[in-house]
Symmetry: C3
Subunit: 342 residues, 3 copies
Amino acid sequence: MKLSTLAEKTSSTIKQGDADLEIKSAAGLDIAENGEITFLANPKYTPQIKETRASAIFLNETETVERQDIAVLRAKDPYLAYTRALRIFHPESETIAFIHPTAVIHETAEVAQDVEINANVVIGKNCVIENNVRIFPNVTVYDKVKIGKNSVIHSGVSLRENCEIGANCIIHNNAVIGSDGFGYAKDEEKRWLKIPQTGNVVIEDDVEIGAGTCIDCASVGETRIKRGAKIDNLVQIGHSCTIEEDALICAQTGLAGSSVIGKRVILAGQVGIAGHLRVGDDVVITAKSATSHDVADGKILSGIPAFDNRDWLRSIAAFRRLGEMAQTLRRLEKRLPESDAD
Amino acid sequence: MKLSTLAEKTSSTIKQGDADLEIKSAAGLDIAENGEITFLANPKYTPQIKETRASAIFLNETETVERQDIAVLRAKDPYLAYTRALRIFHPESETIAFIHPTAVIHETAEVAQDVEINANVVIGKNCVIENNVRIFPNVTVYDKVKIGKNSVIHSGVSLRENCEIGANCIIHNNAVIGSDGFGYAKDEEKRWLKIPQTGNVVIEDDVEIGAGTCIDCASVGETRIKRGAKIDNLVQIGHSCTIEEDALICAQTGLAGSSVIGKRVILAGQVGIAGHLRVGDDVVITAKSATSHDVADGKILSGIPAFDNRDWLRSIAAFRRLGEMAQTLRRLEKRLPESDAD
Amino acid sequence: MKLSTLAEKTSSTIKQGDADLEIKSAAGLDIAENGEITFLANPKYTPQIKETRASAIFLNETETVERQDIAVLRAKDPYLAYTRALRIFHPESETIAFIHPTAVIHETAEVAQDVEINANVVIGKNCVIENNVRIFPNVTVYDKVKIGKNSVIHSGVSLRENCEIGANCIIHNNAVIGSDGFGYAKDEEKRWLKIPQTGNVVIEDDVEIGAGTCIDCASVGETRIKRGAKIDNLVQIGHSCTIEEDALICAQTGLAGSSVIGKRVILAGQVGIAGHLRVGDDVVITAKSATSHDVADGKILSGIPAFDNRDWLRSIAAFRRLGEMAQTLRRLEKRLPESDAD
């Protein structure tokens, strides 16, 4: 692809270099090769520009480059422009309509004409599989599941009864959608009595669910993952939670039941969210933190339990010297004898 | 079902409302509809009683209700009564005895007459599958596994060689029972030499294992999950652990090897338990905490490492202001000049 | 096996006991039976020597034993000698060359003669399966995957497109190798735009991967697990990470993208490693800790965020009394009136 075409398709402008330069792929600064375009998003990596073998680079509007032998495309957001370039060079493979003879599809399931259903897939009663859906091998779809158009279900996934998957979703390998919520009442003999988990999980359009992630169904009602939310690997979503649009949940994070995660929230890796609470829109909770309280819109929180990130940064700086602080305090206490008033 | 029948079956008494009122289902306060029964267990939700659309409610013996248009059932434990109601309205679906033709069952396996074995299930040599067991698609049962009567194995589960599953168990999707323990010795060249993992996992009756949970076999001997224990999703149980009766282990908790978790212990979400220790009966460890020491019966612990929950609550309150405390301490130190004695 | 033969094969010497004594197996101190050999590695368990039913024991060169009725083998490293004994008594079962008729193997795949491929395994286009590989049921191998000789792939595993597995590897049940990395750019409407994940995962020789563990492919380039690394269950390895030789990563640990874990590093359970950093060789990070910074070779770190383990031990000791410290500080402050200078 010519540099000029690439610029046009990525909403960027040629600042330096030949408009007819051929670009054949995109890659990061350190691994890009001749003929490839790269990007700089984080000034920390500016020194790498000198050494990159890339033939072109996306830069923001202020960054300068001293080398003349690299084409420069100005972009408002170089990372976004790079992502678009990568998507151009790596289009998704097309679905090839076929149903493998080993797939076991119940006669009551409605399956669109142009789906791809691979070996050993099992599809239960009264399921609906829409156009252009792609299901990889060894997937189990329980009864009454609906999968919306263009969605991709990777191998080893289990979709439990009554779940709904929207359009353009990707469910990665071995994820489980709609397993029973973890709910018990204690009986008179202090034994756990299982609370029936009769609800379902609804996943709206454009959602991606990571490998090994488990999303429990509601006891009554639904667990809902809204449009555009992205969930990483090995995440646990408890029963009756709601994940609002465009939320981003990183690996190994866990949510107890009935909590609501606001729009565009970012939960970093290994975060914990207790039950029955609301995390407001645009909140960021940093890695390994946990909250058992509601969080107001826009907050950045850290710690176990989580509080304001700036305060936390001060607290953890002091924590490193806490042993010393305790010693100092004991010394001061000794030298300031107890008064009668205390 | 008539209100009077429901009262009888849930050990509750009609305090208000028509004994002949028809109740058709049960649901939480916020989502219950006309014709349904709900419950109040946590006084925090008392205000919702005014707004619920439910036709009846389980209340404890002291809670009052001002509305006349809702039937009231008195129960010692409203949550337990509600659970029983939900179980009445949602009985477990019956096992339909059949073996799908794609199931691959070794000729030496003993399979009871009335089991349900779904598509693509693989059952190894010398397995024993008892009455009324239900195995969903794409399950792999290795050699010499025993599954007790009425147990349900969901799709994608792997049951490794020699494991025993008791009666009335539920193993949720993609759980792994009996994978190798994580054990190595360091050899003379500082490389890891695998310690054979030759033991098994024994799961007693009435145990529930969550989706994606992994329970390792013992190197020699057994890992044992005792009667009535409930384990949530994505939990890791290391080799040779023992989980005592009625313990409850929440999602993403991890146990290293050879530890014993006492009866009725509650480990909240994302807890960590080090190896070779004993957590006493009735202990509660709160979410995201970890212990590397034995814990005496009945303790409530928090923190990393975990200590008494009340002390922890004081410590974390102070931690939020630790930056400020450090500053105060420096100020005090400056104003109280070093004595010769220090 | 005669004691003398066992001594020879485990590089140990008979200190006490009959060279012709028959030893039939090996087990831990508490569960070893008559006719078995055990070991003592941790002096904490020395008192158990009095009670063990074992017929022989591996001891280091300084440990003494008062009993005359137990054979003693001296070993430089009793744990290593015991591991070798256990490996002798429990050799790995031999691969029986066969391909189950229900396996679905693409005609373009190159499969060696002597492999064992079990029921319902699916192998994609252009895969290469080398000698003596063993694949358990319900495994999915996507296109262009290579599996090196003697490797074992347990049931439920998904190997995604283009991944390479070395020789002598073990991949435990339901692990996922090569799922998409978690990468998105934010577009002009604040929605997440998926960054194509076009790279792969390369697993070198002698690697073991735990059950349920997920290793993401690189966006461009590769994620690499080097020779001899051992990874436990439910671990998350982000895209483009490199795990150096003989690193040991315990259960439920998570690595964000592009980090490098040095040789022989030990990451204990539930550790978190942020993205784009380097953990030096021989580092130990203790359980539940997390780092977002580079770590120099040989360090032992603890805490969130992690710092020197000895300092951390002092800090956590003080933390237990932090509520009290805060009170003391307030009292001191009151008694030392604010000076004008402050």
